[in-house]
Subunit: 323 residues, 2 copies
């Protein structure tokens, strides 16, 4: 860190990290945008992708991740100083962090990490953005398989604070600690899972709710848009401020979560008993996809992210110094 | 309405409604606070409860629902002008709206509405705050059973925008329309369900997620506090801005929700297949209740509501004129 007491909108710049990103899909570029906002100089960032036009592609696409309303708080970035590596060995040879956001394909990732390990510095951190392939599987062909851990973002990572850290059972404590510190120092919320479970935690929770949402629309109780209106007017803002356990613990009054289940445990179980179990490909798709298209067309994610940033700014201000 | 173009923080005052609230639990008082902020005069509000000290109780408790940070935007309210009714017939005899937030007990509500119907004006609206007893059951002993409909808030209703309207199959369209208009004119989000389902929609969705949260803590994957950190840093702020269908429709890119399921439908089904099914009373309680107590003690809901209001204000500003 080059400064100690940064102003709110100008975080201290990191002049020590040398970050190599592998993969230039939307997640890779979003991470690139995040890192560029925190590195002292864009030359500390290296990007590697097998697509032939990678340099031109990155220079054309990456600036789109810096929307107008955030530019006043960022110095203008010289995108041409980013290193575009011509080969994997040169991409990783000086890296302190190698962050992979490539295809969701286990053989690809497994052979990638074995190759990365041969060329990267001994103490470089190896992170995968996968949403489903456990670190223990990705690292199967490595000499030191504990080095890879999953750092799963909530999309898009240049906006959303959560990172799920999912180490393999052999990942050393020091590797986990360094990873946690990296994100915490940058104002993010890394949460380390204790087991490698399918889908990790955020998606499992969200998909549990999504399944019931699909069920209720399929049963004709509410429309796609009404589900969204309901969530946007209730759980969304509530859970932005206090997660589900904290909310229900508060809802139980002096009795806390126990009081909550004493009061309405019967209603909770009644709902649990009746939750639907639609399946992907189960026949609900045509109508629900059509409804979503009619309700939303093409969503302006730039606009969504702009509003999300405003909400997150309120939450950050409120959290300031409280945790 | 006495004004037509209100300033942001001073909504037009309603000088026509005469609202009778039955029940002075936290939901009843929260609705009282909401109505007082919108009625032209507190004498338009009548409160009825069988507790003997109701007048003193209301005068002591109700002001707590008007936190300091909202008082600048509200005229000071003369709580002593609220009518405290001595009997049910006098409580409802001049009401345009009778809103019930009494005990969650079907025989109580069923006999209450039969009695209310005898004494209230013919065109008064009858609303129940129940979270579980359908209007069709509550109205079983009425001459015109279509008059009652559920107006289920998301707690606390003086803060949260959502109202789930759940009519019985016999509720006339005009009754539903007048109820929708009432809430829409006051900046709230009434959503009408098309069927009377157990738990209605908001709680079913939330409890689906809660069940998986209980499962993942019970399995030792994450702690109670970590679940909340995850939700507060991901789905909470995201769903405050764009509900789950809209979010996944956006996540599918140009392909929309269909593209989303094409891309990661396998992962979604993988999660759905592994979702846990803990039961209320299934043995996970002791540890999870203890964790919640240790993490949160007694939650300061005033503070939570203050922050929630800030988030909702951002969302309201952004929505202004867009729907």
């Amino acid at each position: 860190m080059s400064e100690k007491t940064p102003a709110k909108d100008s975080p201290p710049k990191d002049s020590d990290s040398r970050i190599t990103l592998i993969g230039t899909g939307t997640i890779g570029l979003s991470f690139a945008a995040f890192h560029l906002a925190h590195l002292a100089h864009p030359s500390q960032l290296t990007i590697y992708d097998t697509r032939p036009d990678v340099a031109g592609y990155v220079r054309a696409e990456l600036p789109k991740y810096f929307p107008a309303e955030t530019q006043s708080s960022l110095p203008s970035i010289d995108f041409s100083s980013i290193n575009i590596a011509a080969s994997l060995p040169t991409a990783v040879q000086n890296a302190t962090i190698v962050q992979e956001s490539g295809p969701e394909n286990a053989p690809f990732k497994t052979s990638l990490w074995a190759e990365v390990e041969k060329h990267a510095p001994k103490d470089a951190l190896f992170w995968s953005s996968t949403s489903g392939i456990p670190a223990s599987q990705q690292s199967a062909q490595m000499a030191e398989p504990g080095r890879v851990l999953v750092v799963h973002p909530y999309n898009p990572p240049h906006v959303m604070p959560l990172l799920e850290l999912v180490p393999s059972p052999s990942t050393p404590r020091g590797v986990i600690r360094r990873t946690e510190s990296f994100w915490e120092e940058r104002g993010r919320v890394p949460v380390r899972l204790r087991k490698e479970v399918t889908g990790f935690v955020a998606n499992r929770l969200a998909f549990a709710l999504l399944r019931e949402a699909v069920h209720l629309v399929d049963q004709g109780v509410v429309s796609v848009r009404e589900v969204d209106q309901i969530v946007q007017s209730s759980m969304g803002p509530r859970w932005a401020v206090a997660g589900p356990f904290k909310s229900y613990h508060a809802g139980g009054g002096p009795g806390g979560l126990e009081g909550f289940f004493e009061n309405i445990g019967g209603t909770v179980q009644g709902c649990w008993d009746e939750l639907g179990t639609p399946r992907v490909g189960g026949g609900w798709e045509e109508r629900i996809f059509k409804e979503a298209n009619e309700a939303y067309g093409v969503v302006d994610v730039g606009e969504r992210d702009r509003v999300t940033r405003r909400v997150l700014r309120v939450l950050e201000e409120e959290r300031g110094g409280k945790e």
